[in-house]
Structures are given as structure tokens and as C-alpha cells.
Amino acid sequence: MAQEDSNVIDQPEVIRHKMVTVEIAGKKYDVPEGITIIKALWYSGQEVVRGAGCLGGFCGACAAYYRTKDDPKVRTCLACQMAVQDGMSITMMPPFPARKATYDIQALKDPKQDLFNLYPEAPLCRNCNACTEACPQKIDVREGVWKAVFGDFKSVSEMFMDCVMCGMCTPVCIADIAPNLVALYVSRAQGAHFTEKPVGLDTRIKEIQDGRFNDEWTKLLKMNEKELADHCATVK
């Protein structure tokens, strides 16, 4: 390859920002195409206090509804992950007053039965599937609720591993279930009660308590800077 060709830093900019028109909470704004909804909110000068957290698609703070041009279907998304397009209508989801049960996870005697005391509404699912359709993480939420009720805690914990707790499955539920909170309880119970205790971890903790590494520590912490650097260099 020729030298000048490989010096790609001198390439001219390839595209210029195209502007698109979006509707934010019912009002039209022109914003650069391809930025995220959150950035569009900033760009149009809205104050974003609630509605933004990690900005990385994991905290669930930025739950939003949107509709694309001429499509009647209102969809859900995480506003920090969704790029705006021309004609999009957007509104942020307000916090929803779902009830969270409180429990002492370690003290539970029969977690599968306790589910019905903590979330008595869980078995009343009417199978409407609205929760699944609302989930921006594409979790089969309805299936998860049924699996929880039937005591298949392991499957629930796997299915909801990428639940960001955005809560979008909750306002749509006609049986007043908060599926994400049910799944969180179930996953924690699975971890605390139905998963094997790792023997190796207990051994390591005991080794530390019994001072198995004390001689090594003493030797290491007595070294001067040079000795320590040399010692570190031997560890590959």
C-alpha cells in the first residue's frame, strides 16, 4: 500500500450532520440525525434530571415510549440506546408507583411458597402478554411470571439476567403485577437458597483467617522498593 494512502488521518470528514424533526412530549424540535433520544432531549434544551442514569443501557432510568412516522404502534425503548429518526414521537415514562414487597432474603423458610405471601397477585396473571410486548430487553416476561408461580426459579433467574429494572412491564399489567419485582425476588431466592455453596470459596476464606499466607505477606511487605519491583517482575 502506498504511503500517502495509509495516512488516513488526513482524510476529509465524510458526512455532515443531517437534521431531523422529532416530537418530544408533543412539541416539535429539529435535532441531528442519529443521536440518541437522551442527547436529543439535551440538544433541544430540556432539563434532564430524572430519565438519565448510566447512559450505557443498564440502569433502566431512561425508559421511554416512541412511535415512528405514520406507524400507529407505540413502542418502548431505553432512551440512551435508541437513535432518533425523522418523524419520531417520543415521551419519557414517568416513575410508576409499583408495590415492592420487603423481605429478609436469608431468613426465608420456604421461598417458593413465600412468593404467594409476598406477591399474592403473581398467580393472577391473565396471560395478556402486554408485559412481554413492553419489555425493551425482549425478555419473555409473561412466561417468566408463570415460571415463577410454578416454582421454576432457576429459569426465571436466567431469563431476567438482563432485566434493567426499567419498570416498563408494570404499568401495562391488567393484574397489577410488577413482573420485574417478582423476578428479582425469585432470582435472589434462587441465588441465596437453591444454588450450591462453593466449597473452594470457604476454603480460601478459612486459609486467610488461619494465616496461611502470613509468611508470604511478611516477606513481601518487608521488601524495599527495588526488591519488590524485582519480585513482581518474576510473576508472569
Binding site: S6, V14, T102, M161, A192, T203, C232, V235
Partner: protein, 402 residues
């Protein structure tokens, strides 16, 4: 050459690159590379702090300016507390939640105040895993040595020893709360190999380690009914005549009112500073990562450590535009992802320490072997053939953490 032609080079060179093994740098080569290309050594981006406990110490201009800032609290401010507590925890990430739960467990009256919602933090994004020496062939001492090497021997020995020794008990505590760490067939904790470590030591919860840990910690803080102040940013610490910290003043972001909290002890867990966008770098950090704890404690007279070093994460997206700064986990590189320049060459052992990998990516970009994306930013490719995903250019570095 346009980006699609450059992309062809990546495809053509893939098989040859796969057979290559690149050595990790010797300490001497590493120092040379870092001094020349790592952002921490860009003199023009640093200046001495003008006053306070770190007077004369050089730090990034953005941080220096913030540390020297005026208080937003005016003379005559009414310091009558709205709340009184034993322990005040400032920050609702992993550190803050863990501190609050431990203090509460030990019988203290605890209040946890945080700038955004509980759990909206960097911790919820730390999906790559958590280093704890649980494997039989590993030990806290080896963990200590590896970390010292990664930290260029600058780490505080005592603090580091506590962290590597308490790690296993913290893993046990998290398990007891229901955190679902990945397991081996025999039920033991599964450990993965991470960058810069001599033994496999990464505990993971599939690809969602931070999310899983934070979901559980948040839920536990709520279950324990720990008193919460959400959407309240600490803007100043209060002190007595002797200079001891006696609490904090918050600004409620919903109604702009001040809230005064008096406490016997205050724990600052306000996290990193990526959102200062030091040297104009993009960041993967959360919305509130603006180094508040550093300023709060500096104004109360605390001397800050390591103000001249920042962590630059090697792999963050530069394209497409809406993913700018989004982190591409180390895992992609440990599973065989290649860093590739415009000529289709690998230029660093992808699993070398982050400073080495970051510095060499910057070297490629500065010496004209970077790729200009459609939106005009420069990066290198992160080629992920083994993962069978389309290759995307990757930023020189994006994530800043302290």
C-alpha cells in the same frame, strides 16, 4: 481510501493475524511507550493546583479548575439539620450500598444520599467481572502483586492488602444476598482470565456482573429500609471547629432546596470523574460521574492521592455516533478480539495492561495508521472474528476512572 476499502483489509488479513502471537512489553519498553503516548503524560493537559492541601501538584486542568471552585453555599446559610444520623453515606453505587448495608448490619442508624436514583452509577455498568482470588492456584498475595504491577508500584500497600484479603468474604456476602455468580460444574465459582493478571481471577454473572450485583444491593437497601435521599447531590461537607466532618449539605435536584444532614460519620462513595471529559475524551461513565467527592473532601482539607493519573479504557466505540464512548468489554479482547490498524496489522498484545493498550492505540492514531470514521473521528478496528460479529472501529480510549 474510504472506510469500506479499509474494512476489506481487515478481512483479508484476518487469517494471518490469527496465527500471530504478540509478546507483552518489557517494563522498559512499556515505560517508553507510555511516556510518549499515554494521555497522563501530555504536559499541556496538566497544570499545578494553586492552593489547598495539594498545592503545586499537577493534575488535569479540568480537575484543577473544579478543585479551586467557589462554594455554592453563601454566608449566613442556616445549618440547622433536617436529619440527624449515625452514618451518612454519600453515593448510591456499589461502594455506597455496600457501606450502608454493613453499617446498618452493625447496628448504626444509616442514611444513604445519592445524586440520581439509587443504583444509577458506574457500578451498574461494570459487566466485565470482579477480581477476587478464589481459585486454588491463586492467592491474595498473587492478587496483590498483580495489582501492584498494574498500578506501576504506586498503590497504597495497606489498602490494597485489605482489599485482596477481604475480597473472598465479600464474594460470600454477595452470594448470601442471592447474587448469581457463574459456577463451574462442581459448584465452585467460575473464574475467567482478565487483562494484566497472572491467574484467572474474574468472577462474573454471565455478561451482566455489575447489573446483577447492583440489582441485588439496591433491593437489599430497600428491604433493610435504609433511609434514602434520592436526587440529592452533596454540595458541601460541614465541619466542627477542629475540622472534623460533621455531615453534609445536599441540593435536592427536584425542588432546588438545600437539605442539611448531621452525622457522626460520613462516608464518601461518589465514584469517578469520567463526565468531566478530561482532555476532551469521550467517556463510558454514568451521568453523575463528575468527581464531586474529590472537591467536597478537598474543600474540607483532605489531601488527594494520585491526582496526576487517570485510567483510560482502551476499547470504547467511536462509531456509530450514538454509541460514542460506549464500553466494549475487555472480555472481547480476552476471547480473541484483535486490535487492528488501517494497514491490517496488530500492534499490541491485546491483553497487556490497559495503559499499554491505550497508549499503543493512540500511537497508531497519531502516526497516521488510524481509521477515520464516517463521522470524522479517528479510531482503530476491533476485529472480533472469533466472536463472529461484524467488526467495528474502536476508539483510542474513552473511559476515565479514578
Amino acid at each position: 481510501m474510504d472506510i469500506h476499502a479499509l474494512q476489506q483489509i481487515v478481512h483479508q488479513t484476518r487469517d494471518a493475524r490469527r496465527k500471530q502471537t504478540l509478546p507483552k512489553l518489557s517494563p522498559a519498553d512499556r515505560d517508553q511507550l507510555i511516556h510518549k503516548y499515554h494521555p497522563d503524560f501530555r504536559a499541556s493537559a496538566f497544570r499545578p493546583i494553586r492552593f489547598g492541601p495539594n498545592v503545586g501538584d499537577k493534575t488535569a486542568i479540568e480537575l484543577a479548575t473544579l478543585l479551586e471552585g467557589d462554594s455554592s453555599i453563601v454566608d449566613g446559610f442556616d445549618l440547622t439539620p433536617h436529619y440527624t444520623t449515625d452514618v451518612l453515606v454519600v453515593g448510591g453505587g456499589g461502594a455506597g450500598c455496600a457501606a450502608a448495608l454493613h453499617a446498618h448490619g452493625a447496628g448504626a442508624k444509616v442514611m444513604l444520599a445519592t445524586k440520581l436514583r439509587l443504583g444509577d452509577s458506574n457500578s451498574v455498568m461494570a459487566q466485565g467481572g470482579m477480581q477476587i482470588s478464589v481459585a486454588p492456584e491463586d492467592s491474595p498475595v498473587t492478587h496483590f502483586v498483580d495489582t501492584l504491577k498494574g498500578g506501576h508500584m504506586q498503590n497504597d500497600h495497606q489498602l490494597l492488602k485489605v482489599m485482596v484479603e477481604e475480597g473472598p468474604s465479600i464474594a460470600k456476602w454477595l452470594l448470601s444476598l442471592g447474587v448469581l455468580f457463574d459456577r463451574d460444574g462442581d459448584g465452585n465459582l467460575h473464574v475467567k482470565k482478565g487483562g494484566g493478571s497472572s491467574k484467572p481471577r474474574l468472577l462474573t454473572c454471565s455478561d451482566y456482573t455489575g447489573l446483577e450485583i447492583m440489582r441485588v444491593l439496591k433491593d437489599e437497601v430497600l428491604n433493610q429500609k435504609i433511609q434514602l435521599l434520592e436526587f440529592c447531590a452533596a454540595v458541601e461537607l460541614t465541619s466542627d471547629e477542629k475540622g472534623n466532618c460533621t455531615g453534609a449539605i445536599f441540593k435536592d435536584l427536584d425542588n432546588q432546596r438545600h437539605v442539611v444532614v448531621a452525622a457522626k460519620s460520613v462516608i464518601l462513595a461518589t465514584g469517578g470523574i469520567g463526565r468531566l471529559h478530561i482532555q476532551g475524551f469521550p467517556t463510558s461513565n454514568h451521568y453523575g460521574a463528575t468527581g464531586d467527592g474529590l472537591c467536597l473532601s478537598y474543600r474540607l482539607g483532605a489531601k488527594l492521592m494520585h491526582v496526576d493519573t487517570f485510567q483510560y479504557h482502551p476499547s470504547g466505540a467511536v462509531y456509530p455516533e450514538q454509541l460514542i464512548g460506549a464500553l466494549v468489554t475487555e472480555g472481547i479482547r480476552s476471547e480473541g478480539g484483535h486490535l487492528v490498524n488501517a494497514k491490517g496489522e496488530r500492534f499490541v498484545n491485546e491483553l497487556d495492561t490497559r495503559d499499554v493498550v491505550s497508549a499503543s492505540i493512540i500511537r497508531e492514531c497519531e502516526e497516521g495508521r488510524g481509521i477515520r470514521t464516517m463521522s470524522g473521528r479517528i479510531g482503530v478496528w476491533l476485529d472480533t472474528p472469533l466472536l463472529d460479529a461484524a467488526s467495528g472501529p474502536c476508539n483510542r480510549s474513552c473511559c476515565l476512572r479514578l
